[in-house]
């Protein structure tokens, strides 16, 4: 037996050892996912590809073609673990995870081919993914120069290359026309990711330009990758603004400067370049050659560069002489609208006050545009018909190099009535007194009327007058109800005890509620009131002023049996006592009192007084 056991144990150990020595074939599980399957063109989508690999530590995860997206950021992590199995054999388990932040570039359905790893000649792959990119046709195309696109790496103007990092100032138009938008962008190129907030110590100067910021006041710095000079850089967007040159000639955008604190290891990535723990860089100035607007075909007037549409309207086409009307001219389009001037209306007999100007600017796709609204108060000083406008502004399109005219058609203002100067609007109807010698103004007339042929005031309608009777009528009904009650009580003496009994039942119910709420004072007051009301109704006289002995005597006189009278007076005494020393009264006592009161009420209900006492 012992020999058999030893053989079996040896066989088992051998089998386990041989199993541990056998290396399993490497395998992997590859998954790929996105945080949303439908996005709009230009939106951000996060792609996660992960491979869990058993038995191989140096495998690579191949990602699908991402040419339909801009890769904004990429994170790669490769945690792995070693496990030692029975018999000393090791098992490798590793994970490769790629997290990419992508921006959809084109509208349509994009299919991502599976991500995969190859292990020992075998391919392990994920499922393919489909992403629907929505948006209007013509939305950002791959070839469009998007605002966040980086400047080409082949040109090195506006920068001084440094392998650790440098500032780069980029302008999208080196030879603009006067008034044409030049988009200026300042980038920070760093060889390593930035882990702090850079401080711009010197803003780029813009003398000779009218400037409009294009970036929001607060935003996060998200880097993009670009290779320059054979070295990969993290590129950060620091500044972007639209600059409109105000005059022809060479204009310079000054060099920016930046400082980044290195202390505490927050930015400990460079060995030199700054002292005292601060890394600093200064950029390069950029000069643009501004061209005059072409004279060929140029209309007369102060021009606008970009695109423009004009609209004009009067708030009233007919006014009394001396009344003011509001003329509104709205200019909408692209370009330096805040520099736009529209000449006001002129005319003999027209007084035009200084305009009120309002701007509503926007920068969609980093192009400055919006609306500029001019409002004039126009006062016709004499009766007559006044043409207002037309309003025209020459417009130069710098892309096409052509001139055009933005135009709002002419309006007509009709003024009628006596010549008068406008007077102040009175604060109230009683403040209309006209000063001695001041002009008297009538009108203008109302141009809309209901032309009603009947004057109906609903306050003179019969139903409205009838409503007045409602109050007195209700009061009268109330009086009648009271009278009827009293009369009923007089006619039927038995009615009073019945009513008192019903009232007592209600009081007992209320007392039960007080008992449940642990309100002994209210409880005993309700019990006492219920008993006394019924007794008074039976005896047909008040008993509130009687002492308890007097009450006992009265009950005896009216034929109440001694037991009932005694219990009644005792209970009333108990209530009195409990009301004034209610502390410590238990719910059980109140419940018991409630039962006794019910019994007393039944007794009183059966009690028939033998005779009335003297009034």
């Amino acid at each position: 037996m012992t020999r058999t056991l030893v053989v079996l144990a040896l066989a088992l150990v051998t089998a386990l050892a041989s199993h541990a020595d056998a290396q399993p074939a490497p395998s992997a599980t590859v998954t790929m996912s996105v945080d949303r399957a439908r996005v709009e063109a230009g939106d951000i989508v996060r792609l996660t590809a992960e491979a869990r690999i058993n038995g191989e530590a140096n495998a690579g995860l191949a990602l699908p073609d991402l040419s339909a997206f801009d890769v904004i950021s990429r994170q790669v992590s490769t945690p792995f673990s070693l496990r030692f199995g029975f018999g000393g054999a090791q098992q490798v388990q590793s994970t490769i995870r790629h997290v990419l932040t992508l921006r959809a570039r084109q509208v349509g359905r994009v299919t991502l081919t599976p991500a995969y790893v190859e292990l020992g000649g075998r391919r392990f792959q994920s499922e393919p993914l489909t992403i629907d990119v929505g948006g209007a046709p013509g939305d950002p195309a791959p070839t469009d120069p998007r605002p966040t696109d980086l400047p080409p790496a082949q040109r090195v103007d506006g920068m001084q290359f440094d392998a650790d990092g440098f500032l780069r100032t980029w302008v999208d138009e080196g030879e603009p026309y006067v008034g044409q938008q030049v988009t200026v962008t300042v980038y920070l190129y760093l060889a390593r990711p930035l882990r702090g907030s850079p401080q711009i110590t010197q803003e780029p100067t813009t003398d000779g330009f009218w400037v409009q910021d294009l970036l929001p006041p607060s935003r996060s710095l998200a880097p993009r990758q670009q290779t320059m000079g054979g070295r990969s850089f993290e590129v950060y967007l620091l500044r972007r603004f639209a600059a409109f040159p105000l005059s022809a000639g060479e204009l310079t955008i000054g060099a920016p400067a930046i400082a980044v604190e290195q202390s505490g290891g927050i930015f400990g990535i460079f060995g030199g370049g700054g002292g005292d723990g601060t890394w600093t860089r200064t950029g390069q100035p950029v000069t643009v050659r501004v061209r005059e607007l072409p004279d060929a075909g140029r209309p007369r007037g102060e021009p606008h560069v970009g695109a423009l549409e004009l609209a004009a309207e009067l708030d009233r086409a007919q006014v009394a002489t001396g009344d003011a009307v509001t003329l509104t001219v709205t200019a909408s389009g692209r370009g330096a609208l805040q520099q736009l001037r529209v000449p006001g209306p002129r005319g003999d007999g027209l007084e035009v006050l200084a305009p009120e100007v309002r701007d509503a600017l926007a920068t969609p796709d980093d192009v400055v545009g919006g609306t500029r609204t001019f409002r004039w108060l126009v006062v016709p000083e004499r009766p007559g018909t006044y043409p207002i406008g037309p309003f025209e502004v020459p417009v130069f399109d710098p892309r096409a190099g052509t001139w055009s005219v933005a135009r709002a058609p002419a309006l007509t203002l009709l003024a009628a009535g006596n010549a008068a100067t406008p007077e102040e609007e009175p604060a109230s109807p009683r403040a209309n007194a006209i000063a001695p010698g001041a002009p008297i103004v009538f009108g203008p007339v109302h141009t809309h009327s209901a032309l009603s042929r009947t004057y109906v005031s609903w306050t003179s309608e019969p139903w409205f007058l009838a409503l007045f009777a409602l109050g007195p009528l209700s009061f009268l009904i109330g009086l009648l109800v009271l009278y009827a009650r009293k009369r009923a009580a007089r006619v039927d003496p038995r009615a009073a005890p019945k009513r008192a009994k019903r009232a007592a039942q209600r009081r007992l119910a209320a007392a039960k509620g007080h008992a449940a709420a642990s309100e002994p004072r209210a409880f005993y007051a309700a019990i006492e009131k219920a008993l006394k009301d019924v007794l008074e109704a039976k005896l047909a006289r008040p008993v509130g002023s009687l002492t308890h002995p007097e009450l006992r005597e009265l009950c005896a006189e009216r034929g109440m049996d001694e037991d009932l009278a005694g219990r009644l007076v005792d209970e009333l005494e108990g209530c009195d006592f409990a009301r004034f020393s209610a502390v410590g009264v238990s719910p059980a006592e109140m419940e018991s009192c409630l039962g006794r009161a019910r019994a007393l009420l039944e007794g009183l209900d059966r009690f028939e007084p033998t005779r009335k006492d003297a009034p």
């Binding site: 007919q318 009628a416 209901a450 032309l451 009061f475």
Partner: protein
């Protein structure tokens, strides 16, 4: 048979439709005349609307304005008053009425060296300001109903606190109801002796009787307030404050209310 009925119905409806169209046209033509500066034509158009039965504050206002533009300030005052009766608190009408009275005063001053202008508002106007009839009527109704509800509550309420509250509320409500009711009555002209009117002709004679040869007692100024207390043929017996009563030709006074 059915076709005949439809035809009859259409024919019956035709005059009303035509009249509605013509009212619009008259109004538009009168407005156009006003803006052309033809105030006489404008006033004629608006007055035609009034004669056709239009009872409208805008038409009354326009007629007042057109009359004022042509210098008939008495008629202007009459129709500004009518506008205010139809639409109490109308700021334009208040302004126009004051302007018409001022113009009357200046004209009188130019003619006689001194001018007296009837600027004191009627009693109801002085007491109630811009509060309209409708507002007063509603306030009266609400407070009266509340008052009787409170009295009803006093009949049945047993709790002392409730009775005390109701007892305080009742006299307050009674006072408010009384004031609002009196104001409403004043505004509605219940307490007035006669129909309110305005003298529309300059120096209108107040005669002893309804006859052109009757003795003249006084002369009323254009724009003066008056109350028509009686009528006989084409004559109206009017009461003019400070002057007393007398008979005037009906066309020399204009009623404020339509």
């Amino acid at each position: 048979m059915r076709s005949i009925a439809v035809l009859c119905f259409a024919l019956a409806a035709l005059p009303a439709s035509a009249a509605a169209d013509s009212l619009e046209e008259i109004f538009e033509r009168a407005n156009a005349a006003y803006f052309r500066g033809d105030y006489e034509g404008a006033a004629e158009g608006y007055r035609r609307l009034v004669e056709l039965g239009v009872v409208d504050a805008d038409v009354a206002f326009n007629l007042a304005t057109a009359e004022a533009r042509r210098g008939r300030y008495g008629a202007a005052a009459q129709f500004y008053e009518r506008t205010l009766w139809l639409r109490p608190g109308d700021a334009d009408a208040h302004r126009g009425l004051d302007a018409a009275r001022t113009a009357l005063g200046r004209r009188l001053a130019e003619a006689s060296g001194e001018g007296e202008v009837d600027t004191a508002p009627p009693l109801s106007e002085a007491l109630l300001g811009g509060v309209g009839r409708t507002t007063l009527a509603v306030v009266t109704l609400v407070t009266e109903t509340l008052l009787f509800a409170v009295l009803l509550g006093l009949l049945f309420a047993r709790r002392e606190a409730v009775r005390l509250g109701l007892g305080i509320a009742a006299p307050l409500l009674a006072v408010v109801a009384l004031v609002a009711g009196v104001g409403w009555a004043l505004r509605a002209g219940v307490l007035e002796d006669g129909e309110p009117a305005v003298v529309v002709e300059p120096s209108t004679p107040l005669r002893e009787g309804p006859d052109a040869h009757a003795e003249v007692r006084h002369h009323a100024r254009e724009g003066q307030r008056a109350w028509v207390v009686d009528r006989e043929r084409s004559w109206a017996r009017v009461r003019v404050p400070d002057l007393g009563e007398g008979w005037v030709a009906s066309e020399h006074v204009g009623l404020v209310r339509p």
